[in-house]
Symmetry: C2
Subunit: 125 residues, 2 copies
Amino acid sequence: MRVVDRERVATVTGAMPADDDIAGLADIFGLLADAGRLRVLVALLEGEMCVCDLAAVARTSESAVSHHLRLLRAHRVVRVRRSGRMAYYRLADAHVRLLLDVALTHIGHAPAASHPELGDGDEPG
Amino acid sequence: MRVVDRERVATVTGAMPADDDIAGLADIFGLLADAGRLRVLVALLEGEMCVCDLAAVARTSESAVSHHLRLLRAHRVVRVRRSGRMAYYRLADAHVRLLLDVALTHIGHAPAASHPELGDGDEPG
DNA sequence: TCGACGTATGAGCAGTCGTTCAGATGTCGT
DNA sequence: ACGACATCTGAACGACTGCTCATACGTCGA
């Protein structure tokens, strides 16, 4: 593993966040990396919702949504409010909300991701 | 799959981005959901770097980084500049750059993700 | 031309992820 | 008490991911 610009590597490595921070970030991004979960979170952007309605919006089974919500709950991304046999979830993480806002704002910026052909990736000219 | 608040479901579903957009977003987030890849991208925030230096910063094998870069290249997230036998990569996606900026800015906001015990997730009080 | 080098790539494997299915818990209406 | 209901949970399975290893490609120096 040879290094070309040793000084630069040292600088960038020094500016790199701690391992735990990087792992935490990757974790958060991982939560957003599933279409079903993303739909659930986008739905929650507009306010709290119960599991069955979230399932309807995300077009998955209630069981699947429940599993997703469990994950999100464990990461303190959503929070529950229970009322009788219903469970109303809402976004509880401003960080994630901001990430979602930014992401949604920039939708449609580059359709390239629709055709990841694993080719060169360079521009022709 | 019963719906409780049918009107709300209709509203939220209507405001939901198209399937392709959601899938694309989840895709992008997926690219950021790996610690090694995240390190590579954070390193590239500060300017272009060659593969071997990237590997040093990300503390992985050059092969692993090369695979990562191929993925990122396919999604137009990075771009290569070739000079002799060297390949210099740089961030080529403003959207992703912004996402990274936002993420890095908010690091350390909630250490909860470090201990995802999959428990209740509710606050004790 | 030859070997060293930086990078790229494919195959294969281990680990992870998301789903479904079956079943459990607690709640409501009668 | 009973059944219908909303949600939660664990097991199991198929799909996907990221790694390593071996190898190939183009470039440089001698």
